[in-house]
């Protein structure tokens, strides 16, 4: 039952962290210069002094800072993220509407990076001086040093302009009917370039990490034991070594989920992917404070949830962590 107490404690920490994120976001945006009332008035084409006062009163902007903060925290805890000045719609609905495409992009990119990265690393580790191993090292170096937007543009030049086999932007062709298998195929087609661009850095990193940890493990005593048992090479690699080698990859991937989420903002903007990233980018330009705060809160929420999941995942993979009572 130790496991459950640890999980419960993790959940408590996660909740406290979220609370801190809400307060911090609010303070940060409160300190941003500019009058929110003017932004709101600006959307309706300017306003008189009386109207400005009316706006301040009805939005609660005339209240002291701590009252505004507590009101906001209270509302968020009830699941109300406020409503957007620009869309004049509840922020939560806006976010949920954009969440699908973003999760699709981020999760696909992350899984690709983890699986392909580990696989590359494992193959490279078996012949540390072979051609494939050097190829991986070089690929990793390029992938790791190139900024994602640059990688994205190069991929666009190659696949869209020269080869003309990939669509430039969007989630799917505007006219195709949603829900049909043709539409899914279309989405996959549109997903390809954004996913490859976004995952390139992480794929590079994980293949290096997996290669290093695999090489380390292949020289370890328990691999010698596995050989002495009479196991074949494939069982040794994929049963005895892989599970140990994947632990550091999972750890890093979990820690980096927040990076990849922020990387998605850039990639979504480049490919006009209709996700949270583009919404965030546009809302910042519009000064749509509730939406910005909502997205910040929401991404923090997603990141914390994923960290929790990662933690649980390697507790399941590694019995030494699962069975220890340290949190």
């Amino acid at each position: 039952m130790q496991f459950l107490t640890v999980v419960a404690r993790r959940f408590l920490y996660a909740f406290l962290l979220l609370l801190a994120v809400i307060v911090f976001n609010f303070v940060l945006l409160y300190l941003v210069p500019g009058d929110i009332a003017e932004t709101i008035a600006g959307e309706s084409g300017g306003a008189s002094a009386e109207l400005m006062a009316e706006i301040r009163r009805s939005y609660g902007l005339d209240q002291p800072f701590h009252v505004q903060l507590l009101t906001y925290v209270g509302k968020v805890l009830q699941g109300d993220l406020g409503s957007s000045y620009y869309f004049n719609a509840p922020v939560l609905d806006l976010i949920l509407g954009r969440l699908g495409p973003t999760l699709l992009l981020v999760v696909t990119a992350l899984l690709l990076a983890i699986f392909a990265g580990t696989l590359f690393g494992v193959i490279a580790a078996q012949r540390p001086n072979g051609i494939f191993s050097h190829f991986i090292t070089i690929l990793a170096l390029i992938g790791f040093s190139a900024p994602v937007f640059w990688t994205a543009f190069l991929l666009i030049i190659l696949f869209v302009s020269i080869l003309q086999i990939m669509p430039l932007s969007g989630l799917a062709e505007p006219l195709s009917e949603t829900g049909t298998w043709k539409w899914y195929l279309d989405v996959a087609h549109h997903l390809f370039l954004p996913v490859v661009s976004l995952s390139s850095i992480y794929l590079a990193q994980y293949s290096r990490l997996a290669r290093a940890s695999m090489m380390d493990i292949l020289g370890s005593d328990y691999i010698r034991t596995a050989r002495a048992k009479g196991l074949g090479q494939r069982m040794i690699i994929y049963k005895h070594a892989l599970r140990n080698a994947v632990i550091p990859v999972i750890t890093i991937a979990g820690l980096q989920f927040s990076h990849i989420f922020s990387g998605a903002v850039v990639i979504e903007t480049v490919f006009s992917w209709p996700g949270l990233g583009t919404l965030a980018f546009e809302s910042i330009l519009r000064g749509d404070t509730p939406t910005i705060m909502g997205i910040l809160f929401f991404s923090a929420f997603v990141v914390i949830v994923f960290n929790l999941l990662t933690d649980l995942a390697y507790r399941i993979i590694d019995p030494r962590i699962r069975l220890s009572n340290t949190a």
């Binding site: 034991t225 048992k229 009479g230 196991l231 005895h240 590694d318 019995p319």
Partner: protein, 331 residues
């Protein structure tokens, strides 16, 4: 009636190093009969473990290379066997346990799973049957509450318990030969004695022959019937255990025995001084043409440094390679 089970004939193993070719094992011949325990003694780096890895077919190639010789298991030359055949031999006909029980088990699988794996691999047992075999083995090696501990992971066990698990794993398919490579070096003295008793006991029951590799003359006295003393990749003396302990001929063997601390019941009785062998085992690339032990030997003369002494029988079943015994024989 003891039969010849395993014999190594004229084995040579070389390693490529930055300084050139190192002869890690040079012209080594040993034999093992059914039901016998053979001790291989020597300091670190004298080729004991490499001998074991050669028999298992686990010498890392490259940088290693088997340069010659034969390893016969029931007349079949294992050096000629292909990898497929060697995988059948390992863990099934010849098993091995290692020096470091703390790191020799895979941390992410339960011990039951790891023992059962061997039985499933070699005997094609079902998962349930293999787990039953694992439980039986854990009980045989004296693990208390085995039906509970079978589901535990290596990090939940002490060093002694892990070495018992290793032994259970090695014996799961009733191999004919067990190679124990310094199985007690990493363990407490009291636990060492338990492991020796266990190995002796299991040998009685199963008839598995044991090759016991160690640098501890105490362990040899406890376990072995015959002893091979190695130095710098060669055998310098071999004999029955009583002969070695009471009448060691090679200065190196004498040195090894004098290094063992003695306890006396009566503290007023003067104990013999504890001696050491000066120097260390030379790097293999630095070996000259003479006896490898000559630089550390108190009796060495010009001939020792110039020429390798041949092996000569000084008694029935007692062979020594030393110019000293040559001189005595001539006198």
């Amino acid at each position: 009636m003891a039969e010849r089970l395993l014999s190594v004939e004229g084995l040579r193993v070389e390693f490529k190093t930055r300084d050139g070719i190192a002869k890690v094992i040079d012209n080594l011949s040993i034999s093992l009969d059914t039901g016998e325990t053979l001790g291989i003694v020597g300091e670190s780096g004298c080729g004991k473990s490499m001998t074991a890895l050669s028999i298992m077919g686990l010498v890392p190639i490259p940088p290693g290379r088997i340069a010659g010789g034969r390893i016969l298991l029931d007349g079949e030359d294992l050096l000629q066997a292909n990898e497929q055949r060697m995988r059948e031999v390992r863990g099934n006909e010849i098993s091995m346990i290692f020096q470091e029980p703390m790191t020799s088990l895979n941390p992410v699988y339960s011990i039951g799973n790891q023992i059962a794996e061997t039985a499933r691999l070699h005997e094609g047992l079902s998962r349930a049957d293999a787990m039953a075999r694992a439980l039986e083995m854990l009980q045989a090696v004296g693990i208390p509450a085995a039906e509970k501990r079978i589901h535990e992971y290596p990090h939940q066990m002490s060093g002694g318990m892990r070495q018992r698990v290793m032994i259970a794993m090695a014996l799961a398919c009733k191999p004919r030969v067990l190679i124990a490579d310094e199985p007690t070096t990493a363990l407490d003295v009291t636990v060492q004695a338990q492991i020796f008793d266990l190995l002796n006991d299991l040998k009685e029951k199963t008839g598995t022959a044991i090759i016991m590799i160690t640098h501890d003359m105490g362990a040899i006295a406890e376990m072995a019937q015959r002893v091979v003393v190695m130095y710098a990749g060669r055998i310098i003396e071999q004999a029955g255990v009583t002969q070695i302990l009471t009448d060691p001929r090679h200065p190196y063997t004498q040195g090894l025995i004098r290094c063992v601390p003695h306890l006396t019941r009566n503290p007023t009785v003067e104990r013999p001084p504890l001696l050491e062998i000066p120097g260390v085992v030379p790097a293999l690339s630095q070996l000259g043409s003479g006896c490898a032990f000559a630089p550390r030997c108190p009796y060495a003369d010009a001939k020792c440094r110039a020429e390798m002494p041949p092996s000569r029988a000084v008694d029935s079943g007692h062979d020594v390679a030393c110019w000293l015994t040559e001189r005595e024989a001539a006198a």
